[in-house]
Amino acid sequence: MSESIYYFLQQIANGLTIGSTYALIAIGYTMVYGIIGMINFAHGEVYMIGTYVAFIALAGLSMLGIDNPFLLIGIALAVSIVVASAYGFSIERVAYRPLRSSKRLIALISAIGMSIFLQNYIRLAQGSRDIAMPSMIKGGFLFGSPEGSHIMISYMQVIIMVTTVLCMVGLTLFITRSRMGRACRACAQDIGMTNLLGINSNNVIAVTFIIGASLAAVAGMLLGLYYGVVNPYIGFIAGLKAFTAAVLGGIGSIPGAMLGGLILGVSESLTGGYLTAEYKDVVAFSLLILILLFMPQGILGKPEVEKI
């Protein structure tokens, strides 16, 4: 294989890694939008909080003398999921539930307010500096000749991609097979009717927020380990990118979120690899605008019929 193909594949692999994490965060947007039709603007902040809690747990556990990396990561992940879920649940309870019958604009402004509030709450509580964590999992796979052209994929990149796929499979099974999953789908169709059939839609919505927050916490943990840095501002841009991914794939559709995330990740990585990294965000946002103009329902989404 020629060198340029190796380079291309390397960029694709890098793009798939970033794309996987966008997809994990995008699930939160897409599920909430699918069920109550609002953009949970504060979802990116839940991801940021997930990373902070993971770091706190990792630092705390290693200070207690636990040094088995699997145990360490496992416990930290559990703690992070619990706390992030509590945030997801409380955000819905405090900022969105009272507004469920209001107009979309009202709920969206409340969500933006929540996002600004959480970001600044963390800034005041933990400081605005970057908090860094040394890398725990080192090394990677090498394809090709070590001296000449090759592709290098680190273990951490593999872990990110595999975890994402596992989460997606698990979530799809949950939605299609479980009783709660069926209730979720029912709510997405018609909340009023679901209530009439004796399903408490408030519980379903709460579960949706908790699932979204848990996946955001998983993404926070993975990216925290991968990049090793957290600050209060990472949630905003990550949330925006993930939302773009959700819209790209068709908001409301779970496979769409996965697809959208991967497309976005790869296109960013190719922009960085073949053009210049400073226009990465411009490409991401332009992609969003173009998709919305020409395919407002996204790649895998269903066209929405406006009901009167």
Binding site: I18, A132, G228
Partner: protein, 371 residues
């Protein structure tokens, strides 16, 4: 309703006026402008403790021309919009001497006002060359320029490293891009081949695309203009993706956190830093004074801020005047002995010399001079 506005605003102006008069008229007021709040407040602190220490020590020795110096803090939060408001307030409060501001983007809009209103300003932290390029008479600094640091780094690279294929990366910010451009210019003059010159987005976390590109271009030396969080991540991802190159950065990357982010990968990083003034034996007494107050004298802006106050005070003593234009004129001519060494100004108000030293960074967050 608008009457409420008016009342509030009049109330404000009255309180501002009261604040102005509550100080004894005989004191010489020095405004200390910089971020008290906001994300870079920690750097503002360095400037404030340095300046306050200088004021305290000068007063202890009898003040200036028999009058006491009084430092008054003004908060610009490193926001250009608030910097203009602060500058106007300083004019209002009839203060003729300013130490500040911190961020170049705040200093720049404020200089216009100071020059116009006859106020002497000495910044201890803003390194952007543009600030003194406007032909101002009253604007000075006690810190080296980005355009000085770049050539130092560039000459070191050209003379000691002699890379075959070099890349220059920057973060598209005022500071980083300025230094990166200066480095590129210097090394190219010495015949070093710069194969990549590219910007990244500050605050970004993923640089795998960039690292792959560096690898593809067979780069053996990377100069990065910017701050530590991004370079830390680039180093970390380079190590993971198997890029084997030597890295170098300006003082903005010389922060302990870079070792925490990059771990082992930060070993051997080259950094240009101002000499550590706190290690200079001549400053022993001063360092003790800081430590007695439980303050850290090692911040990069502490000693320059001290020097800024001292230079102004010395000039006031020498001219026996507190007239801004006279003091500034003297500052342009004279030379001063300060904790940052001998200070002498060129006609732009920049230091005629400010040393940068190349250090080897280590994975435990320490540094040692590079040969």
């Amino acid at each position: 309703m608008k009457s409420i506005v008016k009342k509030t605003l009049i109330g404000m102006s009255v309180s501002a006026a009261l604040m102005g008069t509550s100080l004894a008229q005989a004191d010489i007021k020095i405004a200390l402008a910089g971020p008290v709040s906001g994300p870079v407040a920690q750097y503002g602190d360095m400037q404030f403790i340095g300046a306050e220490m200088a004021i305290e020590q000068i007063n202890k020795k009898g003040g200036v021309n028999g009058e006491k110096l009084v430092g008054i803090k003004y908060d610009d939060a490193c926001d250009p919009k608030q910097a203009v408001a602060v500058a106007n307030k300083i004019v209002n409060d009839d203060i003729k001497f300013v130490v500040g501001h911190l961020c170049s983007s705040s200093t720049q809009p404020a200089t216009d006002i100071y020059e116009d209103e006859g106020i002497v300003m000495v910044t201890a932290a803003s390194t952007n060359p543009d600030i003194t390029l406007q032909g101002y008479q009253l604007i000075f600094r006690t810190i080296g320029l980005d355009s000085l640091q770049g050539p130092v780094a560039g000459r070191f690279v050209a003379d000691s490293i002699k890379p075959k294929r070099m890349a220059v990366i920057h973060d598209k910010q005022q500071y980083g891009e300025g230094i990166a451009t200066a480095v590129k210019k210097t090394v190219e003059e010495s015949g070093v081949d710069v194969v990549m010159f590219e910007g990244i987005t500050a605050g970004d976390k993923d640089f795998s695309a960039l690292v792959a590109k560096l690898k593809r271009n067979n780069v053996d030396f990377v100069y990065y203009g910017g701050y530590h969080p991004e370079l830390g991540l680039i180093l970390r991802q380079s190590a993971e993706l198997g890029l084997d190159a030597q890295f170098m950065g300006p003082e903005g990357v010389g922060n302990k956190d870079i070792s925490a982010i990059a771990g082992e990968a930060s070993e051997g990083l080259l950094v240009t830093l101002p000499p550590s003034f706190e290690l200079d034996p001549k400053n022993k007494g001063l360092v003790d004074a800081f430590e007695k107050k439980n303050q850290d004298p090692s911040g990069p802006f502490v000693m320059p801020a001290y020097a800024a106050v001292q230079v102004m005070a010395d000039s006031m003593k020498a001219t026996g005047s507190t007239d801004a234009e006279e003091v500034a004129e003297y500052m342009h001519k004279a030379s001063f002995t300060t904790p940052i060494g001998d200070v002498k100004y060129d006609e732009k108000g920049d230091l005629t010399s400010f040393n940068f030293v190349v250090y080897n960074w280590h994975a435990d967050g320490t540094k040692s001079p590079a040969k």
